[in-house]
Symmetry: D2
Subunit: 374 residues, 4 copies
């Protein structure tokens, strides 16, 4: 549904990179939640560009709740979350007004919007629009947490440099999740950090950019959530995750690794351990037939290198229909993957809260999180 | 929305593997379409199990239009498409009633449906439910064709054996699409066929199963279709494709190959060729910012090996909460990937018709396909 | 969403009056419900034409569950409910093929479907399509009942003859509801029955038809259900009720009677009675700000006289664009209001179940209706 | 879908009466529309309280487009429209914090939101939330106008005083529509104005309030728009109109007048006049079988007297569960019907644009309203 996602817990997105403000309307929030602003602002901080490995556009990214919060708690009415834009350099984009940046939405938008799109800084297509998503996501993450569901995303690979993966041991995995959520550069093995940062920095100096792979893990989802077929958990998560600009692939569990395996090698056998149903392996990422089975949900997403680079490229002027050369000035990210991780977390958390409300009702969250105001 | 997918061109699915019948309601079909039953039945034929490399359950799969068709043409009202089940061997499943087949939905369904799901043959989770999807998809494919949009899916990899990929040359690619749509075993390089069939057959004899990778290509999509962010073409297609049971990953264009590339290596530069806007490469699979740019849409999906195998496995009895050994009898596919390809085509075609109606209205298709009845 | 209604408990409708069959897919049914077929068939019986006051088209209206029911209980998967058509006299409609019956959908359909609609017996617009709605509604009514929510609809007025209205006393009202649900001709005051039947019969003999007003009451809805503004209970119910062909007006509580009242005369004052919050009057029909307040939901709908009459009328041939005279042959209802009452009940019950699931989750119904299968 | 209405042209609403701001996100706006701010502000002006016959809360109601507009034209991205609240007197509501105002949402909200709703001034339930709806509606009205579709709503009855109704003559009716849209107090017969104003003023002096009936007419809708059954034009319009707080009834065309008529008296016969298909009468309000037939859409809505009155009333304290006496202080409207008329116009226009996009695509509006930017 265009700029709205979700069935009962919905996010509606608006704004352009160089417009007045960007934001979301988050609807279906259980009433009575005392928003953990510290956690929310920490997520915002993680998403923010920092140092030389990100864009030099620095925005305050102050999150303003226009509605839906009263006396510090959610009212149950829609939360309109607004973040003002303050540091636009729109003149950087004048020269791009008629030029299609390679691998960007400029040309597709020109056709779709008949030439009336806001071309400045990518307009409505800008990665900047993920900022209010992160604010909304923080609320979803808080709701999940109160039900014992936690998640994290780390940089599993940056260009050629790899991190360790989430442990199959759930206790160990929980520690990894907690650790990742407390560090700025999301790695399980923090020893890889310097090398990755150097790689990004080198790309920047080469007027280029790099991408990589994110791995996400969700612990604590109850079994029996999701729908067979059309609204499988994989369908819902992938729908949400592909809404993040640079994502071009997703795989659940063993994913593409299934291609050359025999079933006998990769089937996840069930067993009862301490009276609890688990699987010995988790190649299916906690999802069978589209429904959660109680095991961790795990998936990887590939984040392409950011297409905005300073190197000269060939392209077209779509007003004059001529081939042109192009140098993108302005402020750009030599990598976004280390910032995108909280966006992925946010989209996944928003999606899972929605799935849980569909199953248990909004009263489940409402009763879970509070007593009636006293 | 549970068992309904789409906004304006929608499919609602029903049925269980061993119930009376399975089917779909296809709504939003432009009026006046003379359904190409030959093409439809050919798609059904491709999906059907054949020979030793598929399940020995043989169904007539006769497609019955209960509604929505009058004098051989669509009326514009919903088409209810029903396929009777005829060859159930339900007793094969009595022993499985309380046992969770590894990597199957049985346990998740037990929790979700509180023990009331139809366990026979996978019930509502069965791959058998893809049969009416293929019938609905044939109508979507026909609608696209009338607008000059064609698509095909081939087995890019089966276990360790690879096929060639779709050509980047659109003329060549069109030939490949046409060829694939005329052969039973979907390969660009038909020389690989025997080897692949032998591989499947060997898996069967080993009481095992194999998976692989499908590659899909859509030619002729107009630019400007899709939505930024939440309803990107990638979001829409992935949502649809993950609704196919065994799919565990999807990547668009270069996909996971983006992970270790520099932007300068993989950005798709635009150029004007013969007055038409194209890109020199197509790593982004015809989609920029979630919107089509007029280039071919290309993606790969990984299809896991079918989890139902005859080999002994460990599992649990979820009624008694005991660990058990399990041998799945019944009739199973040692591979479904060669059959799944028309299911992928169907889901994608259904999704694209929906996106096109959102942009151009149902009148676009209606006017395109017919004159007012004379 | 075209032929699908509801968010989580959804009905998708298909079929044409003279096609093979008509039906619905009911999705979101809690698993484990033992469908009360006796009650369902009684509702079907009430809807059926009987005697001289209804159409002479007599259909068996046998309800077939194609899916979603296993061992007599719902599985949680979609229920496809099919009713075969058996008594079509399609040749009656040959002469109407190009003629727009006054106040019928014929002309509007001609434009919408470009001439390809099934014109026989009203096609997809026929009141016949309410038959499977009643079957689906019976399931919704059963679900409500298990939660202590009951409803009924009676003929408050037929042409100039009025019935009594539902009592404001809830105990008395409950008796009325129970009584209505056990009689064939839905009147609170059964003494009016003969007069009403005579009125209909006279209309028939005059080659004419009559309409009237239905009053509906729902008892037992918990407070706090519904949404402010766009998805108010009034919005949801009216949306559902206007989907019934002949309905042209709806009013909640005092309805149009509010027009010349002062607030001080009609405001519903709250009071605590026996520890329970009630209102002294119920002019707002149990709905404040779109949300239920726990009082009875009451509304009236006007059902226009059925437009198909045997009297000669003027009209047009929409193929030749000529004015013509028209006599509608075939079998028609001189009144449908006494049959429509179960259709209204059905649409309302379907809507309320959906609203309740949105609030309490599907687990609320699931847990409410069954223990885990033993 | 909670606080979002529409399928392709959607409005998402947020805000509380005494919060920082209220607003909507309007999505699906065709790109390139130069918003007629004069017309928009005129609609806002009509909605504003004026003189002694409205609340004394005076808000600037300045409409701010946070997004979706660039260089004075719509971009095709969502328009977030915000109106700051400035004249709250929140302390007026302290005494109401625990008291359920009769016929207000207070108690229902208390249950639904578990005591966390913003109780000040009705919070999210306040009529104040209609302000941004009117801004969004003005855009919809402008879109319709460019396609030759016009509409207006007038006060057909205020308490016991009636206005004339829309003429059945379309030329005359067009004049009435144009006239109504240019006057402050929407009456066809302006001679009734003084009497109506006196009636409202008297109610105010009596510490009371009055309601009445609005009549709406839409001219120029093409035939063939809408859906049979569930998404009938009546269903869609009524859904939208009942989202306006005080509306408690709606009737299309003859409406409740159908109750005691014979079909032969009220069927709308078709005829060809000047080569155009029309009906001689229009008792069905331009809608047959849920689909437009090209005749004017006409309906009446009853607007109950505003429940907030200064007179003493009985009620309850829902925290202490005690019966109490209540005097509502603060600033209230002795009537809202004369202001509500633009809200009705807005909701209807929003709904019809949505229906038209579903049929003709967004390109229909886009091409209709502009040339490609030059």
């Amino acid at each position: 549904m265009k700029n709205t996602i979700g069935n009962l817990f919905t996010v509606t997105q608006f704004g352009e990179s160089h417009g007045e403000a960007i934001g979301v309307v988050l609807d279906g929030v259980p009433a009575g939640l005392e928003i953990d602003m510290e956690a929310l602002n920490y997520q915002m901080y993680i998403r923010k560009p920092k140092g030389t490995i990100s864009t030099q556009r620095h925005e305050a990214d102050e999150v303003r709740f226009v509605s839906g919060v009263f006396n510090g708690k959610t009212t149950g009415s829609p939360c309109c979350i607004i973040i003002e834009n303050g540091a636009q350099h729109s003149k950087d984009y004048e020269s791009l007004k008629e030029v299609a940046r390679p691998s960007h939405a400029d040309y597709a938008a020109e056709v779709k919007y008949n030439g009336f799109q806001d071309y400045r800084g990518g307009g409505h297509f800008s990665g900047r629009l993920t900022a209010p998503i992160v604010a909304a996501g923080a609320i979803a993450i808080q709701l999940l947490k109160q039900k014992g569901i936690v998640l994290a995303t780390h940089v599993a690979q940056l260009h050629h440099i790899t991190d360790e993966l989430f442990s199959d041991n759930q206790d160990e995995c929980l520690k990894q999740i907690n650790m990742i959520n407390e560090v700025e550069f999301a790695l399980i093995n923090q020893d890889r950090k310097e090398e990755m940062i150097a790689c990004i920095d080198q790309a920047r100096m080469n007027l280029d950019a790099v991408g990589g792979i994110l791995e996400t893990c969700v612990l604590g989802m109850p079994a029996g959530v999701g729908e067979p077929n059309f609204d499988s958990i994989e369908s819902r998560i992938s729908h949400a995750v592909f809404s993040v600009g640079a994502v071009k692939g997703i795989e659940f569990g063993l994913g593409f690794g299934f291609k050359d395996k025999y079933s006998s090698e990769v089937n996840d056998e069930f067993e009862i351990v301490n009276g609890k149903v688990v699987t010995k392996t988790n190649n299916n990422a906690g999802i069978n037939g589209g429904i959660t089975n109680g095991m961790p949900i795990k998936f990887k997403t590939v984040v392409k290198p950011t297409p905005s680079i300073a190197k000269q490229q060939n392209s077209i002027n779509f007003k004059t229909n001529e081939n042109v050369h192009l140098e993108i000035n302005g402020r750009h990210d030599p990598a976004i993957i280390h910032r995108a991780r909280v966006v992925i977390d946010s989209m996944v958390a928003i999606t899972l809260v929605d799935c849980l409300i569909e199953r248990f009702g909004i009263t489940w969250f409402q009763e879970g999180i509070q007593c009636k105001e006293d």
